[in-house]
Point group: C2
Amino acid sequence: MYNLLDGLKIIEASSFVASPTAGLYCAQFGAEVIRVDQIGGGPDYHRWPVTQDNDSLYWENLNRAKKSVALDLSSPQGRELLQELVRATGQFITNFPAEGFLSHAKLAEGRADLVTVRVMGWADGAPALDYTVNNAVGYPMMTGPGPEPVNHVLPAWDLLSGAYAAFAMLAAIRKREQTGEGSEVRIPLSDVAIGTVANLGGIAEVLHNKANRPRLGNTVYGLFGRDFVTKDNVRTMIVVVTHRQWANLIQAFGLNAQVEGIEAERGVSFAKDDGLRFEHRDALYPLFERAIGLLDHAMMASKLDAAAIVHSAYRTMLDAAHDPRLVEDNPMFSASEANPSGFIYPAAGAFGTIPQMQRGDAKGAPRNGQHSEEILSTLLGLSSGEIARLIDSGIIGIAK
Amino acid sequence: MYNLLDGLKIIEASSFVASPTAGLYCAQFGAEVIRVDQIGGGPDYHRWPVTQDNDSLYWENLNRAKKSVALDLSSPQGRELLQELVRATGQFITNFPAEGFLSHAKLAEGRADLVTVRVMGWADGAPALDYTVNNAVGYPMMTGPGPEPVNHVLPAWDLLSGAYAAFAMLAAIRKREQTGEGSEVRIPLSDVAIGTVANLGGIAEVLHNKANRPRLGNTVYGLFGRDFVTKDNVRTMIVVVTHRQWANLIQAFGLNAQVEGIEAERGVSFAKDDGLRFEHRDALYPLFERAIGLLDHAMMASKLDAAAIVHSAYRTMLDAAHDPRLVEDNPMFSASEANPSGFIYPAAGAFGTIPQMQRGDAKGAPRNGQHSEEILSTLLGLSSGEIARLIDSGIIGIAK
């Protein structure tokens, strides 16, 4: 928790990963993010992983530091309350459909300067998910050794869309501060995916070459980078991104003469050209396979560290969770006392660290409807009698 | 191009993906982003894919809509000019080391309200890259059919860090507008990666279960989602995220009786529980494999579309580049007339679409040093004589 966004209130009506991470990042920087859900929870409220009691460890981490209002969103009254909350704050993050009761045009009636950020599937409103846009843009056909496509496990498009949505929210607010005008920023997963392919040069590459990039397994395209296996059977990624690292790498493994031999034979120089190191990988990689296969991992690691070359052994997530450098000794993590699941473990705060400011502990996620009464009273001015009546009639939900 | 960030000037000193995408997203929203590089280009200037002339299709897409200043950053005078540019604008995006001539403390001498956003490897300053932090947090050991780890091809951590850096820049500027105080936001790839594992519930999951998640190939964890192959041999991802979609799916393939049989046999109901559909996948998936294997892709797709179920065939990137919905007919793309490579192809603009505003065409990337004279004159007030002298002495580079 940092207080960069003090004073900013955001209504979030959303589910799954993309839109909730946008709210999460804002909340971790100090915004008051109020997630409004169906009474009993939205479609992601029991998403796996879950505890024995069916409490979602996924939901409680994607919604930390937020407040929760529960409404019956299938009823006209519940929908109207959500609309009024959006109008009361002026900021809205959602993945609800662009048309319908949460359309920007409808919400902007009575709040002309509203800023809406909407994560979508396809730009035309057709549904899509991370795993389907990933297929559509071609990455699974490039991943793994082949021939079958390999899905990513990390929902990368959701995550990128979420961070971009948080950025877009602040950009649109900045514009409004200068002009008084609100706007809706629509962020389709499909555009984030194909736009990223373009940004990384992928569209230009395949149109220029009139062919797909060959499938490379764990080899990095266009430079010296791959996994190698040590004598004690540790598989490690090694990647060289500067010419100095390349010189150091050859030196570290005593391969100067052999590399010079390849350079002479092929009439090239690898010293200042990443691309050539990739192009001639058929000759280069076997040299390093042999050299690394003669060393235990500890010895290889000390050589690489001394040479300032970036490397990392493959580990499991359980290993990572127990790594002090990543988790226990990492000030980004703190104990999470207030988890709805009751399970206590290290909880993450904001990704960014600000040396000039105090980092507060990670906050817990709310239970469904935990802040219904507080928020409907403070933001909409409902009396306790009105709130009680709406609870009785099933329009408002409160935490059990 | 949208003009949300009109009037915001940012100096970017960076390379590769993460930090340049932060600048790119700001530039595509109308900020004036000035990338300062070593004369002749930084370590990413010829990164593959490249043309026959060694022009990088990667660089020219990650640096669209920016300006370029070229300086000899190995010389004290070149370094001082970069420091003065940062101080003149007050906003700085970089992946240079936290200590050294571009440390925030040094830059803030003479510009106390400076906002610096710094993408790092490890939080302690040790080097790391997307592919090595990915190993460190465990995703490659979960990806693909096993037993070997599978690297992602998409540099997801770089991209997420870049979008988060753009968000952090605007958040820190907002804070400065309220308090007058500058700050440095440090964004280590390692924290973005392990923080994301935590946000998705992964840390809680492995500590709760005291075990890693089993490796699932192309099966999505915790719900009904997997790849299936049609009669005409098209491999397609199908994912069910709502209970209505589940009911529709069974209906679409005429599997109600068979699914009820499994429910009766196992004493469960799949109607309202994603997790159970995952838990009993050994029984459910074969039903759908058979049903889908009897249909051609077109027939399967029409059934799924009618049932509002999300699906997508696996395609190559070349297929994607030729898909009118993704590229040609997509208003996010426009022709890029001003590419340094001279090759013309569809270029992407901002991921976000703002219905209330006019989207301008994607701009070209600069050539190294193209704006050196303009920027050093306007921002630092150097005379043309001084600039000429510094060009002659090799401190300032200009585009050839």
